[in-house]
């Protein structure tokens, strides 16, 4: 896996600064959203609403900044996080307490949140002059440069968030519960882990992180269109999580694998553009990536079963 990323990055044609720069500005969005998705997949769920959720959050935050163009970036981020948390909690309620299967619940909220984005914005896009400059700077400026490459603030934020996420999953009780629920729900229940509460938590967290990504999106693109903001992001992060070694049958997944998966997809994404391959192939790439990850999982599982049998 890592080798693949490495060789792609090492290929001289990718080393042009603009390409690496655009990877650096794209990866933060994917890893932050992917972190939430990974937690959901570890508990045997899936969240396909994240793209629409990020889009709706960006629209809602944009509607506020439209009349408060002097808003500071931390306030906007907090606003996005809270909005995302509320939307994600709604997913969590449907799944954990109304017992709707995750794929159905998030499929419905995927179209529901997209519809709300249209309704809230009256189908008008948020323009760049309606987004505070401090927010734009988040992705266009950074604390330091490495050899001409800017390390944008959103990358710094993403690293902090992912670090916190890794700590949460590894060393806290609710974090361990995520794995317990995913590897064997009945056993987790017997051990005193509340399966429902954990399910609710991962979907709420996925919403919170996607809300933050919504604000990142505003910063990265400088405009928010209700029809296109965040469309297809769900496939991208699911692909990144799955190819990064998160087991689709639940129970395992690591932050490092996720980061590698995101880097791989971002590299592929940028290299497709560089090589002049049209956008028409992008979706094919995500689909095939998901399938490869899934099939690898399947073979690993079958081998494990065979080993156990002998």
């Amino acid at each position: 896996m890592l080798v693949l990323v490495f060789s792609a990055v090492k290929d001289p044609s990718f080393l042009r600064e603009t390409n690496v720069q655009s990877i650096l500005q794209w990866v933060p969005l994917m890893v932050v959203m992917g972190l939430g998705q990974m937690m959901v997949i570890i508990t045997r769920g899936i969240d396909v609403s994240v793209g629409s959720l990020a889009g709706l959050t960006a629209i809602l935050v944009g509607l506020v900044t439209r009349s408060h163009t002097d808003m500071s970036a931390p306030v906007a981020l907090a606003l996005g996080a809270i909005t995302g948390l509320i939307l994600g909690s709604f997913n969590g309620l449907l799944i954990a307490f109304a017992e709707v299967p995750p794929i159905i619940a998030t499929l419905a909220t995927m179209i529901g949140y997209r519809g709300l984005a249209f309704i809230a914005s009256r189908a008008k896009q948020i323009d760049s002059n309606q987004i505070p400059q401090s927010l734009i700077d988040l992705s266009q400026r950074g604390p330091f440069r490495i050899g001409g490459l800017l390390c944008p603030w959103i990358l710094v934020l993403a690293i902090v968030i992912v670090g916190l996420g890794a700590f949460f999953l590894k060393s806290t009780r609710p974090g361990r519960d995520v794995f317990a629920v995913g590897s064997n729900p009945p056993a987790a229940l017997l051990r005193g882990v509340s399966v429902k509460r954990t399910q609710f938590m991962v979907f709420a967290l996925s919403g919170l992180l996607s809300g933050i990504v919504g604000v990142f999106y505003m910063s990265r693109y400088g405009f928010v269109n209700p029809g296109s903001a965040g469309v297809g992001l769900e496939l991208m992060v699911i692909a990144a999580a799955v190819i990064g070694g998160t087991n689709v049958a639940g129970g395992t997944g690591t932050v490092l694998g996720l980061i590698a998966g995101c880097l791989l997809l971002a590299t592929i994404n940028v290299s497709l553009a560089v090589l002049g391959i049209s956008e028409n192939y992008q979706q094919l790439v995500y689909g095939v990536t998901i399938l490869i990850g899934v099939v690898l999982d399947g073979f690993v599982k079958q081998n494990a079963a065979r080993l156990r049998a002998t």
Partner: protein
């Protein structure tokens, strides 16, 4: 035999009536039978996909790739026709491709024992992506002789041929599901995989076959959509899986597998046709329509879960009352 008012389809039938009356109140055009019959032709592809989806969901799985399969096969059909291949051969090739695309889903789910929502999400993107790569964002026209299947009617009536086709397919599916060994296997697989294996059901083959059936139905839908719109585009059938799943679940099929009927699915489809027509006439925008379908999907599952919990607790109460009587 279950009492008629306890069958889930009865609720669906009542809902159909309700939407019909609701639509009637909202718009003066609504009770126009010819108009409604013509409107059904917009939902034939969804109906075919929903038939396949009924098998898939009863067997305890889900197929998110039907819309993409429909899109890819529709593009393939148009490409073949434009390559000068006569339509019967192109049609057979298209249907074969549809079956194969479904089979890929089925094998990954059944043999590698992977969750179907991830596998079909992967093929959902891959098949749509393949269609996009095949077409390069262009659209292809269909030969005029094959266009416009939706305007054909049974001679002397207002009944569209396409509707007749769907009803025939539904009857075949209903018989297969309700009256054959394969149908019993599908129910058995969905209601409990372990007990199905112990009962000698070839679970893996059943699962692979329901996905093949789903792909087959999607490819039929793809050709019909080509003909109806007289052109092919990679975006054919985009979002169709949501309507199909909604029709199945609304028709009383349990999302957890093991229960459901074709009659229910068809009734729910009729309700969706009424709902869409009524919303169309009332000028409800596409976003609201989607949101409405999404809410319907969620509500139907929540309602069913609630009913199931009620009946479970009633059974438990009856059991606890029965026990002391046995002991004494």
């Amino acid at each position: 035999m279950t009492k008629i008012w306890r069958r889930p389809e009865t609720t669906t039938a009542l809902l159909v009536l309700l939407t019909f009356i609701g639509g009637d109140i909202y718009s003066p055009k609504f009770p126009n039978v010819a108009y409604l019959l013509d409107n059904t032709t917009l939902s034939i592809e969804t109906g075919l996909a929903a038939l396949g989806m009924t098998f898939v969901i009863i067997s305890g799985e889900i197929d998110l790739s039907v819309g993409s399969t429909l899109g890819l096969t529709a593009c393939l059909f148009a490409k073949l026709l434009n390559g000068g291949i006569p339509w019967p051969i192109a049609g057979i090739a298209t249907v074969a491709t549809g079956c194969m695309l479904g089979w890929v889903n089925g094998v990954l789910v059944a043999r590698l024992k992977l969750p179907s929502f991830v596998v079909t999400l992967g093929t959902f993107a891959a098949y749509r992506g393949a269609a996009q790569a095949l077409m390069n964002a262009e659209s292809i026209r269909i030969p005029p002789s094959l266009a416009g299947v939706d305007v054909l009617h049974l001679p002397g009536t207002a009944i569209p041929d396409e509707l007749v086709f769907l009803i025939v397919m539904a009857i075949i599916c209903g018989v297969v599901l309700g009256r054959t060994v394969f149908g019993r296997w599908v129910y058995a697989t969905g209601s409990g995989i372990q007990s199905a294996i112990y009962a000698g059901v070839p679970v893996a083959r059943v699962k692979a076959l329901v996905f093949v059936l789903s792909g087959f139905m999607a490819s039929l839908g793809g050709m019909l959509m080509d003909s109806r719109l007289s052109m092919a585009e990679y975006s054919h059938g985009l979002g169709l899986e949501i309507d199909a799943i909604t029709a199945v679940v609304l028709g009383g099929t349990s999302i957890f597998g093991g229960e459901g009927t074709i009659v229910g699915t068809m009734l729910a489809l009729l309700m969706l046709v009424f709902l869409r027509s009524a919303m169309g006439i009332a000028n409800v925008s596409a976003e609201y329509q989607l949101a409405a379908i999404g809410s319907l999907l969620i509500l139907s599952i929540i309602a069913r879960n609630y009913v199931r919990r009620l009946s479970l607790s009633r059974e438990r109460r009856m059991l606890s009352q029965a026990k002391p009587a046995q002991e004494s």
